[in-house]
């Protein structure tokens, strides 16, 4: 009985404290309700340990757009991941601080929550592990996580946001990684004409789009499968080779000769906005890509069997190419790119 009274008394003290004590803050940070498209592949398991929250996403977006992440405060994530281009780049290869050239074409950031492997070669399997890479890479932002923290740790907006997003933990490296990942998880594109047709909404394909869809199903879908339009596999499809001797494709990660110059099959969603194409922007237009596949690709020991079995090419007539491009444009999500 004594104990109960004591407990009650303590509780009372605390409750009364809460009322007048401005030091104690209760953080109300609800999870963001994301529209998860029903036919999309399963979520990356990391999503469940870093579920996007209201302030996590807000903080991530702020960091994503903040040039303080770069050593000389000139570029942010958004400099190479531009919304109008489905958060991809319009340059062939990434351009970092002081005009330094990267190795590859910055990929779009869309539907990341449903990906199991990230980047062209799958060197990262968790989105939370990715933000540090551009921050420290010499050819990108050339900074360090402590340098970034040093720049933002006195900023009142950041202090408030970090506390709201991560329950008063303040500004931490993990908070930076996790919030940027949360923001990226929230970038879901599933509102294209293709989706509307699939969902039985009013729209229908034009004749060219429908014919293009048929070509797609015949000649493209084995790699560009699922509702993400990628099977997330790594393949060497004999595209022109990157002259930079740092490049080895997926083999740089796995050490397997069979993965030499293999790259992750890219999603085709929003492809209209993500030119140039290829791992280092080899192709300026979709026409160029299709012409190349039609004419014939580079021979390689580990060239994808689908190409090997077809004389190293994907034969396409001009009409098929035009129709295919019409279909690919139905994968454009205007709302997603802010049009």
């Amino acid at each position: 009985m004594k104990h109960i009274i004591r407990t009650v008394a303590i509780l009372l003290v605390f409750t009364s404290c809460n009322k007048d004590d401005s030091e104690y803050v209760s953080y109300n940070n609800p999870e963001v309700s994301l529209d998860i498209p029903i036919n999309f592949p399963e979520l990356n398991s990391s999503f469940y340990t870093n579920i996007p929250t209201l302030y996590g996403v807000e903080l991530g977006e702020k960091l994503f757009n903040d040039t303080k992440l770069s050593a000389d405060n000139t570029i942010s994530c958004a400099s190479c991941h531009i919304q109008e281009h489905a958060f991809a780049d319009h340059n062939a290869i990434g351009i970092g601080i002081e005009g330094r050239l990267g190795l590859r074409n910055p990929p779009p950031i869309q539907n990341m929550a449903f990906m199991q492997v990230y980047n062209w070669v799958g060197n990262k399997l968790q989105l939370e592990a990715q933000p540090l890479v551009p921050i420290i890479t010499h050819e990108e932002m050339d900074s360090s996580i402590l340098e970034v923290i040093g720049k933002i740790e006195t900023d009142k907006d950041y202090i408030t946001l970090f506390n709201k997003a991560f329950n008063g933990e303040g500004i931490t490296a993990d908070g930076i990684y996790n919030s940027i990942a949360q923001y990226e998880y929230s970038l879901i594109s599933a509102n294209s004409k293709y989706d509307k047709v699939q969902n039985g909404e009013e729209e229908t394909f034009t004749e060219a789009e429908a014919l293009g869809y048929a070509v797609f199903q015949e000649k493209c879908i084995s790699c560009h499968s699922t509702e993400l339009f990628t099977d997330q596999s790594f393949r060497n499809i004999g595209f022109p080779l990157n002259p930079d001797n740092e490049e080895a494709g997926r083999a740089r990660v796995t050490g397997e000769i069979d993965d030499y110059m293999s790259f992750r099959v890219p999603s085709l969603r929003n492809i209209e906005y993500t030119a140039p194409y290829g791992s280092f922007g080899q192709f300026k237009t979709l026409e160029e890509v299709l012409d190349y596949l039609d004419t014939g690709v580079l021979e390689a020991d580990n060239l994808d069997p689908i190409l090997k079995d077809n004389d190293n090419r994907i034969p396409l007539t001009d009409t098929e190419k035009n129709n295919l491009i019409s279909f690919l444009k139905t994968l454009s999500d205007e709302k997603f790119v802010g049009l």
């Binding site: 799958g122 060197n123 399997l125 592990a129 540090l132 890479v133 420290i136 890479t137 010499h138 360090s144 996580i145 402590l146 931490t172 490296a173 080779l241 001797n245 740092e246 080895a248 083999a251 740089r252 990660v253 796995t254 050490g255 397997e256 000769i257 030499y260 020991d301």
Partner: protein, 290 residues
């Protein structure tokens, strides 16, 4: 009376301790690791493309080569007593237990292990590179090692893999001085031999075990252990006889500037051992000075 006894005891104990510490050995002392980077015993002199002072080596495949840059990470150091007890030296603390040996910086050729318990040691183990659980470029936890590795003249961050470079060798080969560039580092996610954690990648960390030529007697003196790293092993090691080629045909021998993990592993096995029947790689003990 009993009390008096106790007082006496109390008075005697400090005396006993004092007399001990006067002429007796300390409980711990330093051990100095001294690295000598050689080509078959000849200490390497670095040099640019046409530098005639540079130490030139000839590989088993007959290729002349010399280095302009030579760096590697030593970590996870353990000293083993004659009775078999292993004394780990800050093995989970890169700031205080790891170092970058850089041939162009004399001061890095010596690494002082402090507070090693007084004993006779017969073996040393260390890692070439950083074990995977610490290999995360974690600047928050290990700011000093991170900074030392990242300095502009060191460049031992492997950014895209968010790990450290374990070895960085730049140089020239063949009589026309073609570029030789070898970087090693891990891409492993999880533990290679553990199916439940392993997802992908190559572990370039190598654990080295070396028997000391004579016991290192730590106590009154701080012994120096002289370690030779014979970089002749890079191209002419126990695992592979490598012929450097410039073509992009990576199935035959090695293109020193093609940075695939496949290529990398050959060099890593040569200098760091293959982890099974070769646990010394290019390293050997040349002397222990007590």
């Amino acid at each position: 009376m009993k009390n008096l006894k106790n007082y006496l005891l109390i008075a005697i104990i400090p005396l006993a301790i004092m007399s001990c510490s006067d002429d007796d050995i300390p409980v711990a002392n330093n051990v100095i690791l001294e690295f000598n980077n050689t080509f078959e015993g000849t200490t390497i002199v670095l040099g640019d493309e046409t530098d005639t002072d540079a130490t030139v080596n000839t590989s088993d495949a007959g290729q002349v080569h010399h280095f302009s840059e030579l760096k590697y990470v030593i970590s996870n150091i353990r000293l083993i007593k004659e009775d078999g007890t292993e004394i780990p030296y800050n093995v989970n603390d890169l700031d205080n237990g790891a170092t970058i040996v850089n041939q162009s910086k004399t001061e890095t050729l010596e690494y002082v292990l402090s507070d090693i318990p007084t004993a006779n040691y017969s073996q040393i183990k260390f890692g070439l590179g950083v074990k995977s659980e610490l290999n995360t470029l974690d600047q928050v936890s290990f700011p000093n090692f991170y900074d030392a590795a990242g300095e502009n003249d060191t460049e031992m961050h492997w950014e895209w893999g968010t790990g450290y470079r374990f070895t960085k060798i730049e140089g020239f080969y063949d009589t026309d001085n073609k570029e030789l560039s070898f970087h090693s580092g891990s891409t492993v996610e999880g533990t290679v031999d553990d199916e439940s954690t392993y997802t992908q990648g190559v572990d370039a960390y190598r654990d080295i075990t070396l028997n000391l030529t004579t016991a290192a007697i730590v106590g009154e003196n701080a012994p120096t252990i002289k370690i030779e790293a014979d970089f002749d092993y890079l191209l002419s090691g126990n695992s592979y006889t490598i012929t450097l080629v410039t073509t992009s045909d990576i199935t035959n021998n090695a293109t020193p500037s093609a940075h695939t993990a496949t290529e990398m592993t050959k060099f890593v096995d040569n200098i760091g051992g293959n982890g099974s029947d070769d646990i010394t790689g290019m390293f050997s003990i040349t002397a222990v000075e007590n």
